[in-house]
Structures are given as structure tokens and as C-alpha cells.
């Protein structure tokens, strides 16, 4: 039998059994669509997080006080108190040529009030350097002034949301707000809608790091953001930063350095794994669709016993009957997969319209894998019915027994 005739014959018999075929296509297409859509959502989450990290700043190193890595030696008998990570430590890092900018940070929560209105928000102690490092944009006013970071100064930059809540439609620049018991003059307001790692920048206030240390009575920094000159400089900057701190801390290696890239690739890996998992779970629905194909094809075989007997009487060997029924299964699976891809493309476009900030997009492998799985399920689950058809005894088949 010529392949084209086989295809035409299988297509005709599928078209002949319209309801059955449509149901099968529905099952298959939903299976394929769910694989593609779920992986697209997973991939969207991954892109979202990666995008957020990129906003965080480029060529970034983050230094934390204390050592979080285990070294494998015997546990110390006495608890080691990590040395404070000071502003002086942070500024000393600028000695290294591969380090472009350094921003020491202190973070805490405190009530911020203006007249009778008060809000509990995050207070970030920082320097002028933080603005370029974190790509913070100002809606109005000035960033923190360039000055000696060890000096306190009573100035503040408000998040846009906080400004709205405290001042309403009033002008905020130049006014004095109270943070804990200290007064700060508003010199700038961040632009609206700023977001970083899912944390809203709207509800925060930025003050000079030395002022924050006084405010929270915290001699140690929360962390130090270090920006290397280039991607290639990151390893050098990391080693140098570690060395500088060791020198300053009497030979103790008591800070943890995280490269943003390491963090990023960890997240990337986690989310990729998540995407695969979700895709794998959705693939179960494909297997279910495959079992459905098997059931329906088995019913088809028992309904078409006479036709199979006839084909055999007309000289079709078992192999041909097998091929005919397998072709039907694979056609069903293939058409269902195609339909499913169209369905998922529609759904993804819809999701992109509804949530423009969430980058939903199916990775290329998802539809390919879905179609491949669908076709092989069709083939695999088509084998049993096709074999049953091929092995029918023509005499019994023709007599309807």
C-alpha cells in the first residue's frame, strides 16, 4: 500500500467517525495545550525574576557580615562573634581598581510621620552611590548628597507611595518628616512604580547610612553593595574585597560575598527546574489522552470488525492493517497536538494582553516536546488496538461473529 493512500484511507475513516474523532482531538489538544501553557507560565516566572535581578544592578557583588559558608573543620568551641562590618570597611574597598562603586547599607523599620500622619515603613540607610548602583530614579528633587559617608545628615528621599500617604497632594520637597524621634528634611522623591525583587520601593525612605546607624543604634552594616567595573572584573573584585576586609579584620575572613550572578543562576536553575516539573505534570494529561486514544481505537476496532475482515479478504496482510490503524492513531495525536499548540498560542497571547508586565512565553522546546510526546503516545497507545485489528480472524470478522 502506498503511504499516501494509507494516509488518505486513515484520514477518510477518521472523518467518517466524526464525533469520536472530535472528542479525541479535544482530549489531545487540551493535553498539549496544558503542557505548553504551564511551561510558558514557568518560563514567564523565570524571566520575571531574571529581569528583576537585572534591575537590581549590573556587575554586582553583595557583602554580608558574618560567614555563612561551612568550611568542614571542627566546630569552634566558643561562639565566634563576627566583627562589625563598618562604613570604614566599605569605603576601604574603593582602594581596589576593579571596584567602581560601593554602597554601604543599613536597613530597619521605623515609623515615619508628618504632622498627624504616621506610617511604619522600611528605612534604608545608604549613600549617594546607591542610586546609580540600583538604578533608582527620582521623580523630583535630589538624591542623597555626595558626602563623607561617616557623617550623619538629616535629609531623606521618600518613596512615591509614602509621599502620597504622608503629604497627599501637598508638596513634599523641603518639608520635615519625623523618623523615630529624629527630624529629616525631604530632599527627593523616587519615581513611581519602582520595584525591586518584588519589593515595592514606593513604601520606603532613604536616609544617609550614618544617620540610619544612629537611628537604629546598629554599628554593623546590613550589607555592602559593590559594583565591579565590568563583568570580567567581578572575580577580581570579589577576591580583592575579601582580602581588604581580612586585612582590616585582623586576618579574620568574616564576611560573605555573594555575586549577583551566582544568586541569579541559582534562581534561574530553581525556576527552570520548576518549569520542567510543571511541564512534566502536564505531560501526565498527555498520557491520559494517549490512554483515551487507546480506548477509542479499541472501540473503533470492534466497530469495524467487518471492514477489517474485508480488507484482509481483499488481500491486505496483517502488516498493512496494523499500519492503517497506527496511522489513524498518529494522525489523531498529531492533529490534536497541532490544535493544542494553536490553543496554547491563543492562551499565551491572551495572558500577555491581560498581564503585560508578566513575561509569559513558551520556551521553544515546550511545543516541540509536547508534539513529540503526543505523537509517541499516539503510536504507543495505538499499538494495542492496531495489533488487535491486525490479528482478527477474517472468517469470523466477515461473518460478524
Amino acid at each position: 500500500m502506498r503511504p499516501r493512500d494509507r494516509l488518505a484511507f486513515a484520514t477518510a475513516s477518521l472523518v467518517g467517525a466524526r464525533t469520536r474523532t472530535l472528542l479525541m482531538l479535544l482530549a489531545m489538544s487540551i493535553g498539549v495545550a496544558s503542557v505548553v501553557i504551564l511551561t510558558a507560565l514557568g518560563e514567564g516566572a523565570r524571566r520575571y525574576v531574571v529581569g528583576e535581578f537585572a534591575q537590581l544592578g549590573t556587575h554586582l557583588l553583595i557583602m554580608l557580615p558574618g560567614r555563612s559558608e561551612t568550611t568542614g573543620g571542627a566546630p569552634p568551641l566558643f561562639g565566634e562573634t563576627p566583627r562589625d562590618l563598618t562604613i570604614g570597611d566599605a569605603m576601604a574597598l574603593l582602594r581596589e581598581r576593579s571596584i567602581l562603586r560601593v554602597a554601604p547599607l543599613t536597613v530597619g523599620n521605623a515609623p515615619v510621620s508628618y504632622r498627624s500622619r504616621e506610617r511604619e515603613v522600611s528605612v534604608v540607610g545608604a549613600t549617594a552611590e546607591m542610586f546609580p548602583i540600583r538604578h533608582l530614579e527620582l521623580g523630583s528633587g535630589q538624591p542623597l548628597p555626595e558626602m563623607d559617608p561617616e557623617r550623619a545628615s538629616n535629609v531623606a528621599v521618600l518613596g512615591a507611595g509614602l509621599r502620597d500617604e504622608l503629604f497627599g497632594s501637598e508638596r513634599a520637597l523641603g518639608r520635615w518628616v519625623r523618623i523615630n524621634d529624629r527630624r529629616f528634611r525631604v530632599i527627593g522623591v523616587l519615581s513611581e512604580g519602582g520595584e525591586s525583587l518584588g519589593r515595592n520601593l514606593d513604601d520606603m525612605v532613604i536616609i544617609p547610612v550614618a544617620s540610619a546607624q544612629i537611628l537604629f543604634d546598629a554599628p554593623s552594616l546590613f550589607r555592602v553593595l559593590i559594583q565591579a567595573r565590568s563583568e570580567a572584573d567581578i572575580p577580581r573584585a570579589k577576591a580583592a574585597a575579601r582580602e581588604i576586609i581580612r586585612e582590616r579584620h585582623d586576618g579574620e575572613d568574616d564576611v560573605t560575598l555573594i555575586t549577583q550572578d551566582a544568586l541569579l543562576s541559582t534562581f534561574d536553575e530553581i525556576l527552570r527546574a520548576l518549569t520542567y516539573t510543571v511541564g512534566g505534570i502536564a505531560a501526565i494529561s498527555l498520557a491520559v489522552a494517549g490512554i483515551l486514544i487507546m480506548n477509542v481505537m479499541l472501540v473503533a476496532v470492534s466497530q469495524r470488525v467487518a471492514e477489517i475482515g474485508l480488507l484482509k479478504a481483499l488481500g491486505a496482510p496483517e502488516r498493512t492493517v496494523l499500519q492503517l490503524f497506527l496511522t489513524e492513531s498518529v494522525l489523531l495525536a498529531g492533529a490534536g497536538a497541532l490544535l493544542g499548540i494553536l490553543l496554547s498560542v491563543g492562551a499565551i497571547v491572551l495572558l500577555q494582553r491581560l498581564f503585560p508586565t508578566f513575561p509569559v512565553a513558551a520556551p521553544l522546546w515546550a511545543p516541540l516536546a509536547a508534539v513529540a510526546v503526543a505523537m509517541s503516545t499516539g503510536l504507543l497507545f495505538g499499538v494495542l488496538p492496531a495489533r488487535r485489528a491486525a490479528r482478527l480472524d477474517p472468517v469470523r470478522a466477515l461473518s460478524g461473529r
Partner: protein
């Protein structure tokens, strides 16, 4: 040329074994016209199925044009069926979704004949059956007699040597049945060996050679002096 030697076919029915065919010897020269009659369960249909290579005997030899068929594999038997044997069934067994022309062309599709050759041969067969006007009709749009003619067209499209008809008029009225028998006899006249299994004595009598079966054995095998 067909030779059956000591053909036996047993079926287990419950604990017993039924001998549907027992020690059947039969030789059909090419172009023979044979009717097979006998009561139900006498083995007529089994004989036809064995002749048509649909059923495999338990014992004996079956030579089709000199080829020993009982030892052949499934694929070779299918190929012999395809190239040398045509079937006509009581229930027509047309494929309902296919047109008359496509039903007739089905054996050629299974045999992998070129589409152009197929089309030429189909229109030839349609014309010889006087069905050209009905070529595009599906079976449910045809009368019983027309359906059986389409089925006969399908049986002869591969130019077989042997035509096997199992109660070909069983589902037809007198008139349509008569037409179908005449058609089969015309084909026999062109040299095709024709074997008709029937209950109808009137049809059985028309054959030049009349075989009567009882309990899986050939009870009588008469040669008519002249065609009725």
C-alpha cells in the same frame, strides 16, 4: 487450476471437535463453474473460506495454480488472495464511507497500484457493470442489486482467476438476484473460475458442476451435460 487433497478443517466446539471439512478431495480446472449446496453446517462456507485462503486447513494439501498454499506465511497468502481470488459476499461488505468507484478501487489501493492506472481500471470495470452513472454514489445511495454489482466489480478489479461467491443473491429480490447471477456467469464465460455457495436450488442448478456437501464431506459431485 485448483487441487484440494485430503483437506480437513476441525473446530473445537465446547469439548467436542467438529469436522467442518473431512478428507475433501476436489479438483477445479480453470474456467469451471461450480455450485456448492448442502444443509446448514455441512461445511459449504468453510470450503469456500479454505478455497479463498481465508481459513487454513488442519490437514491436507491445497495447490492454487500449482503453488502449495497450506505452508505459506500470512503475508504470502494475503498476496495470493489479492492477486488471484475475488470474493462476493451475501452482505456485500462495502465500505460505507467510500463511493462506488472507491469501493471498487480498494483492492488496487491495498496492492499499491499507481493512481492513474487505478482510475483507468475503475472506469473500465464501472462501464462493464453498467455502473458508470453511479460511480460517485455511496453504498447507502445504491439499490441492493447495484451494491452487489459494485461488490462484484471490487472482486474482479484485480483480474482474479477464481471468483468465490457466498450466497450472492441471499439479500436480493428475485429480479436483482437474477441479474447478479447473470453477471457472474458472464464473468465465468471470460474464463474466471466461479464457485457459488447457495441454498437456492434454482441457482445451484444453473452451474455446470454441482457439488453437494453433507457433514463436511462431498456427498455428490455431478457434471451437467449442458448449461441450464
Amino acid at each position: 487450476m485448483i487441487q484440494l487433497e485430503q483437506i480437513a478443517r476441525d473446530f473445537p466446539v465446547g469439548d467436542e471437535i467438529v469436522h467442518a471439512l473431512a478428507e475433501v478431495d476436489l479438483t477445479l480446472p480453470a474456467g469451471d463453474y461450480v455450485s456448492v449446496m448442502g444443509p446448514s453446517g455441512s461445511g459449504k462456507s468453510t470450503l469456500l473460506n479454505v478455497l479463498g485462503l481465508l481459513d487454513r486447513p488442519n490437514g491436507g494439501r491445497y495447490l492454487l495454480n500449482g503453488t502449495e498454499t497450506t505452508t505459506l506465511g500470512e503475508e504470502k497468502r494475503a498476496a495470493l488472495r489479492r492477486d488471484h481470488i475475488g470474493f462476493v459476499f451475501q452482505a456485500f461488505h462495502l465500505v460505507p464511507r467510500l463511493s462506488a468507484a472507491d469501493n471498487i478501487g480498494l483492492p488496487m489501493i491495498l496492492a499499491g497500484v499507481e493512481p492513474r492506472q487505478r482510475a483507468a481500471r475503475i472506469s473500465e470495470v464501472l462501464a462493464s457493470l453498467d455502473l458508470t452513472a453511479r460511480a460517485g454514489h455511496r453504498p447507502d445511495q445504491l439499490s441492493g442489486g447495484q451494491r452487489q454489482r459494485v461488490a462484484i466489480g471490487r472482486a474482479i478489479v484485480m483480474r482474479p482467476d477464481l471468483l468465490l461467491a457466498d450466497e450472492p443473491t441471499g439479500n436480493l429480490d428475485q429480479h436483482a438476484g437474477g441479474e447478479v447471477i447473470e453477471l457472474l456467469e458472464r464473468l465465468n464465460a471470460t474464463g474466471i473460475t466461479l464457485v457459488v455457495v447457495t441454498h437456492d436450488p434454482a441457482i445451484g442448478r444453473r452451474a455446470r458442476r454441482r457439488i453437494r456437501m453433507i457433514d463436511g464431506r462431498i456427498d455428490s459431485d455431478e457434471q451437467a451435460d449442458a448449461p441450464a
